[in-house]
């Protein structure tokens, strides 16, 4: 009961935030937090539930961004349709890559996702139709929900990002309770045992990866319409893949709260250090990320959420001893 009340108050606060704080920058930071929380939750499906490390989610982010921008420029297609088709594109690419990789051991897949991102980025950089290295300016349309463009205020983007995040949270919650989610976790815990129980592991890994790709692509489409300019170095950046993974790992993989918590911490940290250090390009914030990831993977491989839970229930932790690490 207290928990629902707390969640309700949090949601109310989030809904009122743009009215209370009208400055564009805090709203921008919140939008980034929603965006990365959403993509962290997307990564959570393949990386957290199904246990397959993808290090190339920027591929799908870029595919979503480019599909939306190009369909709008060439066919004057609504960005919402572009979003849907972008997600479809992303699903197709994820299946083509996933099929060969999921038959072999985990690190092959991790490396393949990096390689795929490099391949796609190189193709887009050298492809004149999509603007090559210069990129694409999204055509400016009249302000409206259908056009997904708002020029006077960031607040509509804020609500759209929040809405998308809530949908992805609901998807994750459903997954964590559904049969599908149990299959994913069975695969992560022990592939051979899962196979022995009759789970078609390649098939379920593909489903998990396609879901991740589709949601990440939605994030990319949103980004294209929010920033209105995309180029290969900004949407296929390895730093996007990195941040998405870190958000999930810091918070706790395989949990719903983890990636949200991770996004709040990492985006605040990144924006904070950027404001403080004045964008020196010296990458100090990234160095801190690196240290964090090492520290977490050595000291608390299950992430912050697990750590909080252990703090709250020291006995539950003791009870876990003797069970295989999940």
């Amino acid at each position: 009961m207290v928990r629902f009340l707390g969640l309700g108050l949090l949601l109310l606060g989030l809904l009122l935030f743009p009215l209370a704080v009208e400055l564009p920058y805090p709203q921008h930071v919140m939008i980034l937090i929603f965006l990365y929380a959403m993509m962290g939750l997307a990564w959570n499906i393949i990386g957290g539930y199904a246990g397959q490390v993808s290090l190339g989610d920027a591929t799908y982010f870029g595919i979503g961004a480019y599909t939306t921008a190009i369909l709008l420029r060439e066919l004057n297609l609504s960005p919402w349709v572009g979003m849907a088709l972008g997600a479809l594109n992303a699903v197709v690419v994820s299946l083509v890559l996933g099929y060969p990789c999921f038959r072999v051991r985990g690190h092959y897949f991790a490396i393949a996702t990096i390689a795929l991102n490099e391949i796609v980025a190189t193709i887009f950089t050298n492809w004149d139709f999509v603007g090559g290295a210069v990129g694409i300016y999204v055509p400016i349309l009249p302000e409206s929900f259908v056009n997904l463009q708002f020029h006077r205020s960031k607040a509509p983007y804020y609500y759209i990002a929040l809405g998308m995040l809530i949908l992805v949270i609901l998807l994750n919650l459903w997954l964590s309770r559904s049969r599908l989610g149990y299959y994913f976790r069975a695969i992560r815990a022990n592939q051979d045992a899962a196979r022995a129980l009759g789970i078609d592991i390649t098939r379920y890994k593909l489903i998990a990866y396609a879901l991740t790709a589709a949601i990440t692509s939605l994030g990319g489409s949103f980004y294209a319409m929010y920033v209105l300019y995309i180029d290969p170095t900004s949407v296929f950046a390895f730093s996007i893949s990195l941040l998405v993974v870190l958000v999930a790992v810091l918070g706790g993989v395989g949990t719903v709260a983890g990636p949200i918590l991770g996004s709040v911490i990492l985006i605040s940290l990144s924006e904070g250090t950027r404001v403080l250090l004045g964008g020196t390009g010296r990458a100090l914030d990234v160095a801190i990320y690196g240290l964090l990831v090492m520290a977490i993977s050595v000291l608390q491989p299950q992430g912050l959420v697990a750590w909080f839970r252990a703090l709250r229930q020291p006995k539950a932790r003791e009870a876990k001893v003797g069970r295989a690490p999940s």
């Binding site: 490390v53 490396i111 490099e118 090492m294």
Partner: protein, 287 residues
């Protein structure tokens, strides 16, 4: 394509291929013994290249001699990596293992950028500069020297692993660490040694590359990705595979770079995907 051009492309491919082989031997050795992919391998290489650069820029030491400093220094980096990080996650889930070396990679890369800036640097006048004529075709002397150095270092590691008692202990540990421990092998020592030698290989390779390659914080990424492809092609854990794979990938890269410079790495990655699809155990891998 004329005969000269063919020789030019093939020999250039083999020259860089020997360097790829040395880097990949380090990666495959760590993987073979530890069952962990070192995602910070490229950054180890970058550290060695910067070490060679600073020795040159500050003290005028030629990269050829820096090999003697970079090898041991990176050996130490490898040992520290094991002692401080890897040792604690030997039995952790693979997720934690991947993230640990991945985090190390991110940390080292951005640390280098913080300390030395993102600029490209180079060793302007290596001791063995200029060019040399082979088979009627001219090659950069630094490239030839680097290849010879890489051959010597790879040969030394090969002898160490396949011809000495210590090497047999390493092999045994990679075969089955529990049985190896039962046979009285100090596996913890073998783990440390694998990290030391594995990182030492890139230490030597980094100093050799510094003779002719640009040096910047991100330089490791491209070599790391290449060496993952090499190791997948040769077979994870196989030293012979790393050597053969290095030469093949060197050739592939130079030949595809000849036809289309922008897509040369794309072809290398496609080789990787093809290996997964057709022969996931690689050329010499045990599966």
């Amino acid at each position: 394509m004329t005969a000269e051009l063919l020789i030019q492309v093939v020999v250039s491919g083999l020259l860089i291929g020997f360097v790829f082989a040395l880097i990949s031997v380090g990666l495959t050795l760590i993987f073979g013994v530890m069952d962990i992919v070192n995602f910070a391998h490229g950054e180890f290489l970058m550290l060695a290249m910067f070490t060679a650069f600073w020795l040159y820029a500050l003290f005028g030491v030629d990269p050829l001699f820096s090999v003697l400093a970079c090898g041991p220094l990176l050996f130490l980096v490898g040992v520290l990596t094991h002692k401080l990080l890897i040792k604690h996650i030997l039995n952790a889930p693979m997720l934690a293992q991947i993230f640990c070396t991945f985090g190390l990679s991110v940390f080292l890369k951005s640390l280098a950028q913080f300390l030395w800036g993102p600029n490209f640097r180079s060793v302007t006048e290596p001791l063995l500069g200029g060019r040399i004529e082979l088979f009627g075709v001219f090659f950069g002397l630094p490239q030839v020297t680097a290849a010879l150095g890489a051959v010597a270092a790879t040969g030394a590691v090969y002898l160490l692993i396949y011809r000495t008692e210590l090497g047999r202990a390493l092999q045994a540990t990679s075969e089955d660490r529990q049985t190896a421990a039962l046979m009285g092998i100090d596996t913890e020592k073998m783990f440390t040694l694998a990290w030391g030698i594995g990182a030492g290989c890139v230490g030597v390779a980094g100093a050799l590359l510094a003779m002719f390659y640009y040096i910047y914080p991100e330089v490791g990424t491209i070599f790391a990705l290449t060496s993952y492809v090499v190791v997948a092609l040769g077979g994870f854990g196989s030293v012979t595979g790393a050597l053969v794979g290095g030469l093949i990938i060197g050739l592939v890269q130079v030949v595809s770079g000849f036809f289309s410079p922008a897509f040369k790495m794309v072809v290398v990655y496609l080789v990787y995907l093809a290996v997964i699809l057709i022969r996931p155990q690689g050329l010499f891998g045990r599966w």
